[in-house]
């Protein structure tokens, strides 16, 4: 299992090689049949491919939309030129360059390395804000930050002529010309491999989980920020090298080289191909290189061919690109390939021969642990959601929470799992306070939860859904015990579906997956929020057994909120009934059902009573 997620380096190398060869051989074939211009076109395509791979690494794995990666490319491109240009040429073209740049001239390798470092420094700064933008502020912060970058680079490039040659840019004369494509090949292959390794790595999977559902990721112990930052840095590294190659190949750099047009081109390639898939993005590169060429040649032949002349003009390319962007967003926002890779089905076939793991025995009886919430108060504006609510649960029992709508049950769960900070009161786990602690820390400390609205990671497979939970916890716990991911999946009855994406599961299986994922944290407690919602009576009763078994095989206590009293009374040892933000009755199932206060809470009180 570990090797599965560590990326099986070998298979990724093969897969990358396959993609690389298809792209390159296709390009060479095309070039061989034509003139020199075709040759140049292919080189440009390969460099664009690398740029796209870099951008896709970030956007695809984190789900954060960056308009500014071309801004990073601009920084790298200019830095490269300023460092690699020969001093004689610099004296002619940029006599007033600051920082003594006129006297510096590095070998292209050195220049590329420095360009990458400079760009990475900028990326670290911006990343600080980009990765915290997350779910709370939506895409606004990321949009602002990345657009600002794009614009600032463009403006500086246009205005600061002493450094950048101004609007017309700089034409190159570098000691070593980009002869042949060896370095392009090497760089491109390395990028594809790097991106694939990241995508299948532990860090990558955790980032993808956060991309799919930020809140759910935090609830299974994932802190999205480090993964997103790593994705950003890797992507900027690739983009910066691609930028250097681009400039080297073009022989010139100007503000317009790395501005909106190029941003549109690269984004369209990613979006149309499929932003979550490297194969898809590369497909996008091929498609739009062809489209670009076609429209450019058609537009160029504007020699008055009647009505067609109205359409075939300069600007045709951008209209096609823009229209493709809009069209795909409307009709097929996930692109042509969505999120599969070229060799996914091969690996799936190979895995089909895996033997089904044996059922895990019940875990050894865990040491006694208590979850305690005392006098918790939560005010939402004028509305008091929790009014001195108490809860005590031991991991040796199953505790239920019932009560009418608006009684505060989910709010209490949110307080305990760190989604809400209580205004008053305390929450402790094993006598350590957890009130106001970050949700992912609470998950790692041993509280796993499920959601009323059921939050799985839709584009991850069943196995990956469970694995990311397990991974996020294992790094932080000394005791490495507990059943493996495969054992849990089999125990939940999902073995046959293990390679299916979570979004393809039917409702019952989806609920079981959520349960298995929570169990994968080998938690001290499993907190379940309405696990039977949407189920019929028979299904709810079946859940009793399923919850029990899951909890037993990881040795977790259970706290479950539900409205189905058939389920609750069947599974719980103790039940707390909530109403208006506080506990109104506690007891065994029999006691609770007979309690008139509980009946009143559910059925309402008569006017006279």
């Amino acid at each position: 299992m570990r090797s599965l997620l560590a990326g099986r380096v070998g298979s990724q190398v093969v897969g990358s090689l396959a993609l690389f060869l298809i792209l390159v051989l296709g390009g060479l074939l095309y070039a061989s049949v034509g003139s020199v211009t075709r040759d140049i076109l292919v080189t440009q395509m390969l460099i664009n491919a690398m740029m796209v791979v870099g951008i896709q690494l970030f956007i695809g794995n984190t789900g954060i939309l960056s308009f500014g990666h071309i801004g990073f490319a601009g920084i790298a491109g200019y830095t490269f030129v300023l460092l690699a240009m020969s001093t004689e040429w610099k004296e002619r073209v940029l006599p007033n360059a600051p920082l003594g740049l006129v006297d510096i001239s590095l070998h292209p390798f050195g220049a590329t390395a420095v360009a990458m470092i400079v760009t990475l420094l900028v990326a670290v700064l911006l990343g600080f804000g980009l990765v915290r933008s997350g779910a709370r502020s939506g895409a606004v912060a990321a949009t602002v930050i990345t657009l600002a970058l794009l614009f600032v680079v463009h403006e500086v490039g246009t205005v600061y002529a002493d450094l950048t040659g101004g609007r017309n840019g700089i034409s190159l004369s570098i000691g070593v010309l980009l002869e042949g494509r060896t370095w392009v090949y090497v760089a491109l292959f390395a990028s594809i491999l790097g991106s694939r390794l990241f995508k299948s790595s532990r860090v990558g999977r955790l980032a993808q989980a956060a991309r799919d559902d930020d809140l759910a990721a935090r609830s299974v112990g994932i802190d999205p920020a480090p993964g997103q930052m790593i994705a950003l840095l890797l992507s900027v590294a690739i983009v910066s090298v691609a930028a250097c190659l681009r400039v080297f190949e073009l022989g010139t750099v100007a503000p317009s080289t790395f501005f909106f047009d190029y941003t549109l081109l690269t984004l369209v390639m990613i979006i149309v191909g499929g932003r979550k898939s490297i194969t898809g993005s590369l497909l996008g590169v091929v498609v739009f290189t062809a489209v670009n060429e076609l429209t450019r040649s058609l537009a160029g032949s504007g020699s008055g061919a009647g009505p067609l002349d109205l359409v075939l003009r300069e600007g045709l390319t951008d209209i096609v690109l823009g229209a493709a962007m809009v069209g795909f967003m409307i009709f097929r926002p996930n692109g042509l390939i969505e999120d599969r890779e070229l060799d996914d089905w091969v690996r799936t076939r190979l895995r089909r021969q895996e033997p089904r793991p044996a059922a895990p025995g019940p875990a050894p009886a865990p040491a006694l642990a208590t979850l305690r919430a005392t006098d918790v108060v939560v005010d939402f504006g004028g509305f008091r959601a929790l009014d001195r609510a108490d809860l005590e649960a031991s991991n040796q029992h199953i505790v239920g929470i019932i009560g009418p709508n608006g009684a505060g049950k989910t709010t209490l769960l949110n307080v305990v799992t760190g989604l809400i900070r209580p205004d008053e009161g305390s929450v402790t786990l094993k006598d350590r306070s957890i009130a106001g602690v970050e949700p992912f820390s609470i998950a790692r400390a041993g509280l796993a939860r499920t959601f009323q609205t059921m939050r799985l990671f839709p584009s991850l497979t069943v196995r990956e859904n469970v694995a990311v939970a397990s991974l996020s916890v294992r790094a932080h716990r000394e005791d490495g015990g507990g059943p493996s991911v495969d054992e849990l999946i089999a125990h939940a009855g999902l073995w046959e579906l293990r390679d299916r994406r979570a979004r393809e599961l039917d409702y019952g299986n989806a609920r079981r997956l959520e349960l298995a994922r929570a169990a994968a944290l080998t938690p001290v407690f499993m907190l379940l929020d309405e696990p039977t919602s949407g189920m019929s009576d028979t299904e709810s009763l079946a859940m009793i057994d399923e919850v029990r078994r899951m909890a037993e095989c990881v040795g977790a206590g259970v706290v479950v909120i539900d409205h189905d009293l058939g389920f609750i009374t069947g599974i719980c040892d103790t039940i707390h009934c909530f109403d208006q933000g506080t506990v109104i009755s506690t007891g065994t199932p029999a006691e609770i059902q007979a309690d008139p206060a509980v009946q009143a809470a559910y059925l309402g009180v008569t006017a006279e009573a």
Binding site: V140, A141, M329
Partner: protein, 296 residues
């Protein structure tokens, strides 16, 4: 002191344009949760209308202004109908990219049919005049812009507050489904939001173009970006915030231009963008957090 007042007027003059654009952007964001990058294309369309009207047809600026105004509304409505209507309710990512794509389609259209070169058109002859008021040199264009903007904002405020149409718009911006439950027609109210936004942008375009006198396919980009930044700085949920953001941005621009050393003056825009970008780096939730309101 005179410097201060002069800066203020200068800044408000520029800020008025941004305020009008920002208000339109905030309005559309309110009802659709869409950040409309294509809003600046109202200015682009206006620019070519100005060229056609002033240079090719030799009409007066009065007529031109009216044409620009209605042209802005028209393009706004068309874009909504052709593109944005189909992505309503989609996730942020999708809507941002749609709006991004639309910009290029419009721009490229002008490249195709009007060429990429700059086309100048005559600016009104009073545009450069300066009034001497005591010690102050007050640009006529600033005064006129501020005046027109004040009127536009007043009219918009009146419409939003006193008419059924405006009330529906505000209700839809606050809770779209609840508004539908009251009988507000979703298609209609969104189209109305785009009409109002287009009208505001039309006024902004008139004065922006009076200042610059140029038509290029990319002319809409810079005002768009400033409008968006102003709206975001003011907090995307707030209409008055957007207006305030616009004025603040205008004043900041003028202050920076005066304050920056000579060799950096051309980078005023860059400094403003950088400043706002960095602000968001350290505080991604912005000045006033946009309510995400997730149901758990």
């Amino acid at each position: 002191m005179t410097d201060l007042v002069q800066t203020l007027i200068d800044g408000l003059g520029r800020g008025s344009i941004y305020a009008l654009l920002a208000l339109g952007i905030a309005l559309i964001f309110g009802v659709m949760h869409l950040l409309n990058f294509a809003h600046g294309e109202t200015v682009t369309v206006g620019a070519y209308i100005a060229y056609a009207s002033l240079v090719e047809m030799e009409l007066s600026w009065w007529v031109t202004a009216i044409l620009i105004f209605f042209g802005a509304i028209a393009i706004s409505v068309v874009i909504e109908f052709v593109a944005f209507r189909w992505v309503r309710g989609a996730e942020d990512f999708t809507m941002l990219l749609t709006s991004f794509g639309v910009v290029f389609v419009v721009q490229a259209f002008f490249v195709m049919y009007a060429g990429a070169t700059v086309r100048s058109f005559p600016r009104p002859e009073w545009a450069d005049r300066v009034w001497q008021v005591g010690d102050l040199n007050v640009g006529v264009i600033d005064v006129v812009t501020i005046g027109a903007t004040a009127i536009s904002l007043a009219v918009t405020a009146y419409v939003l507050r006193r008419t059924m149409f405006g009330t529906s718009l505000r209700a839809a911006a606050e809770d779209f489904d609840a508004a539908r439950l009251m009988g507000v027609r979703s298609n209609r109210v969104i189209r109305q939001a785009f009409i109002v936004a287009g009208a505001l942008a039309g006024v902004a375009a008139v004065f922006y173009l009076m200042r610059t006198g140029q038509a290029r396919p990319v002319v809409g980009l810079a005002p768009m970006l400033k409008g968006i930044l102003a709206a975001i700085v003011g907090g995307l949920g707030s209409l008055s915030g957007a207006v305030l953001g616009g004025f603040v941005l205008g004043i900041t621009e003028v202050v920076l231009r005066a304050w920056l050393p000579e060799y950096l003056v051309g980078l005023t825009d860059a400094v403003v963008f950088a400043f706002i970008g960095l602000f968001f780096v350290f505080r991604p939730q912005g000045l006033i957090p946009v309510e995400a309101g997730e149901r758990v």
